[in-house]
Symmetry: D2
Subunit: 354 residues, 4 copies
């Protein structure tokens, strides 16, 4: 019972099949191959517009390249204090941007509010000499707390950022999981709501190592080819990433995978809430469940061999706090988490009521 | 007939099989998986000593991380002016090292001599304030001209670099090709000859995207985990690289692949030299052949659909020069170049003699 | 009546005289001149130990060089969210450190507490891969709110930082102002209390442009000469800075200047507190006074031509808040602020009681 | 007899007087003072057009800021291999530009030719992925060998650089010395000849520490204020630099100082050439003289206490080489080098003919 992360899974069989299919004869190098071109076309279809697409091998690279393209070295990126870019990438955005500053704001469920953004912007005098200049706002969809922004919320953030000319970046490492919950179109969740650049995640959703930086205004991507190359992210055998995306994107496979993971999370979340012993730190809106675990429950989980991560409680909603010995646990469902294993886990949660 | 590069090939069937085998159940993320550990063990065996190994997805990343670990931002790396690190990585070493300088020296066949190194070092006053400080020497084995350094030549370079305390880096993007030509052990071609850090290439030799930075003194690698992470090169599903190396390294498969590629190159080189019309720019010592092509031959190759790259003539040996209309062509053999295709190419070279 | 900043003043006559005296004949360049050497000797005397001293022309450069020497690019510096390094240097520390992260914490009067430091450190897992690594703690003495740390408070911060091996940096742009308030020795306020590296400020205290980065462990300064040179901070005519420090440091002139500025601030603060109309945002402990200004008082100040800066109210002590229309005003006294002008200003504060 | 450098001199009396005059009362900080504004006006007059001016304290900072503003991190600057930016600033241009590459070309007398530039550009495929992109050409006027470019030569370099869109930077650390030799206007030697950005040197010509980065197209300077601030080069008491420039620029004082230094150099050069024993490595065109010194002459100079620097012989003109034991010596004249001391030095050169 491994619920540590969605990156402990391997690749979907369709992804493996696409790689195998792509392994046939010579192909142009450095992303000029037919598989990469095909992925680019699919993204244009999915987002219903011309896009500039840059495939890379890790979410950290995708985010860092995206943010670097949106800021100057004396720029600042407003983001949640526990976002992946702020707290889990060992300073990659600072490295790729040649020293831009990430301004981390608090917020329940790792979500930012327009008022926070406005207030934070108010602390930086526009055009002033002595302070870094806010140039981008980065949000995560779904967040590291498994919550999601509604389309209205995204638009409201854009409105808060727009008066200062900030670009809006979405870290979509779990883009598909958020999308199937909202039930909207990829276009609606991104450029139609104000997103300028998206890190589109494939790895957590059934690929091996496939992420895409997507510019909704291709004109703004003119320098990205050099940025990516110089970062060692331009694979010579680029079809390896192109093929993974073909495996994911064809026939809506990526959405099926996300629906499964989300369903497994819902199943657990429902049981936890019904059970009464554990309560949820945040609502389950994607493929992650964050129950608050009593010491007794922690012990039962350990005995049952259920692997999960203890999680930060900084972003608990107002009114919710941990009792002595309680911790927040993170249980992540992947595209291949079997329903039986989730039921087995639910059994551990339910045990004492037997 | 595609002889553009060894990176236009896909992956060896054994590499594909290893990836498929690794795609089984959950695995620890970020390089703590069993496949990565197994690759690390294999490298220790291959090099006959404890090593610190960092798997990455591109040669550019491997080289840039290696050089960054050997220099300070005010340091300098001495290398050939046409080496991959100096001329083909869009400034990645400068980026990863936070601005260190690459000092490019000329040299026939893209090889450096100890005298050149000594002379170059003489232009930098040791410890002086105003100049960058030479801290590493980077050589390529095999070089971009398909030539190789003998063990004596490597040792002599180390001797030239040692009085100033330079570390010695080997860009081994085509390490296997050089190794099977020399017929020595991996240890002999590296740390026993003075190499401190090696970029071990898998991609050009049958992997999809698998390179390893190998420190022969693990104590010097203490910061590399952060460097790699911050560069977006720490794959969450690290077993993707680990498995590729398992596919390559088990049963000496990597050496078999390199032997094949080299044999194909020798076949072509032999025919070229025997034929009399084209002469070689540099001796064929690995898997690349660089015939000097007359205008007539260029045309025959075009008609025959033989794809190759025109190549720089900066590193021609003394006494060799191009006549009007001649160019240097690069023909690269991969692990999967069929003998029949090479023979077909030889036919194009031979045609006029018929 | 200009109370905008202590950097709107020029240079002390003794500083001017020292520059004039130094302008005599040839001198060695790049800091090897006798005036620089003399400044180094004076710092060793002042701090009662061997020190490594690097003269520069701006406080931003001093701080950024100091912090860069204490962190790796994947390191983090813990500091107050409104400290000069975090909020007033346009990202210079990030630039000089090649991308290290500044972790800004809140705190009344711009002071940090040991508990905050401990708590902040608890959010970074030691040695972990995904997060930047805290490596330095930077405090400001006196702070941007005109408050100062006691020796006990500094030692307690050192104790909080020590378990994680953090170096302790002091931004001493107003070092002299704090020192004369505490009445302790320079050694007591620095290395005896745990400070590793000090930015010693001369500019705000009567110099034109003279700051010194002082390492209390000279062994840790081995790379600074290249850092400073590469940052364009190694003046060719280095005696310009050396002479300014000679003017300041000889005969305790720097302490006299600071005593005057502090006395002027005390005079104003006392009057404000006695007057009753305005209250102080923070206690006046150095050369700055921060009265809370009612709209009426703001208007009287404007009519009287008193120039001051509106100031951030983020660091107000618990229990103190601004009423509608109130602002915090910053009034800074320099080494040359005349007592009469302060009295004139006090008159404006006192006016309505007349 | 100190001929080590023009930076071993102090400041001109007029510069000192201007600083003293500026030390009067409060002034706005960070370059918004009247002295800085006045310097900006003077530069506009001198160059006969609107310019954007950024005052800094060192030539290294001026050059590095200028080049950083002209290149992207994956850009390249073509320059002479022994130019100050390439060889004497410890990598400052690489630091300030976040890793751009300097391409050093050889050339007699440290001058570049248009053909060299064209040839070097030919080695970088325009817009190609794998190589850095040449974006600026940097020349030094007068060069480190005391030679100067004619106006025609500058225009020809611009013509060679223009097809690839390179900006043209002039390192004018000894701008005045070159100008008075050419006898042209500052406008003719810069923007009228194709210069885009100039590092205007004051320090070597009678200031303490005063350099200006001058953009002839102010629209291209929009980001410089942040670059300069972030580099710690925005002095709070900015009038210190403004006043130095006032001292230099008023009444053509800067030209008088340069004329004196050049005259002293001519005097020595004439004597050397007339004397017969020593020959000049390069023609004396500014304020530096580079005689080739026999061992006997080296000894006589040592006995006489004449201080000078041994100099690189890499840029000797074709046909000129050093005999056994000979070295190139650099003798630099400053604004205050007395004629008597030059005559004394000439005596040492002439001695054996007596």
């Amino acid at each position: 019972m491994n619920f540590i992360s969605d990156n402990t899974a391997g690749a979907s069989p369709r992804v493996m099949a696409a790689i195998a299919a792509a392994n046939d004869g010579a192909a142009s190098a450095y992303g000029s191959d037919t598989w990469t071109k095909q992925a680019e076309r699919r993204f244009a279809e999915i987002f219903e517009r011309e896009v500039a697409v840059f495939l890379v091998t890790s979410g950290t690279a995708a985010n860092a390249l995206a943010l670097a393209s949106l800021t100057r070295p004396w720029g600042a990126v407003i983001t949640h204090e526990e976002s992946h870019v702020a707290d889990d990438e060992c300073g990659a955005p600072e490295f790729f941007s040649d020293g831009a500053k990430l301004i981390g704001l608090p917020g329940a469920g790792n979500k930012l509010s327009p008022d926070q953004v406005t207030q934070a912007l108010g602390r930086f005098r526009e055009g002033a000499l002595h302070q870094v200049q806010p140039q981008a706002l980065s949000i995560t969809q779904a967040t590291e707390c498994g919550t999601i922004y509604t389309l209205d919320e995204i638009r409201a953030l854009k409105d808060a950022a727009a008066p200062r000319g900030l670009s809006l970046h979405m870290d979509g490492a779990r883009f598909a999981n958020a999308l199937v919950t909202l039930g909207c179109s990829p276009a609606e969740m991104t450029w139609k709501a104000g997103i300028d650049v998206l890190s589109f995640g494939g790895t957590k959703n059934g690929a091996w190592a496939a992420e895409a930086v997507i510019f909704f205004d291709p004109a703004k991507a003119s320098e990205m080819k050099w940025r990516r190359k110089r970062a060692g992210q331009t694979l010579s055998k680029g079809r390896l990433i192109g093929a993974q995306f073909e495996g994911l994107l064809a026939d809506g496979h990526w959405l099926d995978l996300a629906r499964h993971a989300n369903a497994m999370a819902s199943k657990l979340a429902g049981a936890v809430q019904a059970g009464g012993e554990a309560r949820l730190a945040w609502p389950c809106q994607a493929n992650e469940v964050f129950p608050i675990l009593s010491p007794a429950l922690q012990q039962r989980l350990q005995v049952a061999g259920a692997a999960y991560l203890p999680w930060s409680d900084r972003a608990l909603p107002a009114g919710l706090s941990l009792a002595e010995g309680e911790i927040v646990g993170r249980f992540v469902m992947s595209f291949e988490t079997p329903a039986e294993v989730v039921e087995q886990l639910i059994g551990v949660f339910d045990a004492p009521r037997g």
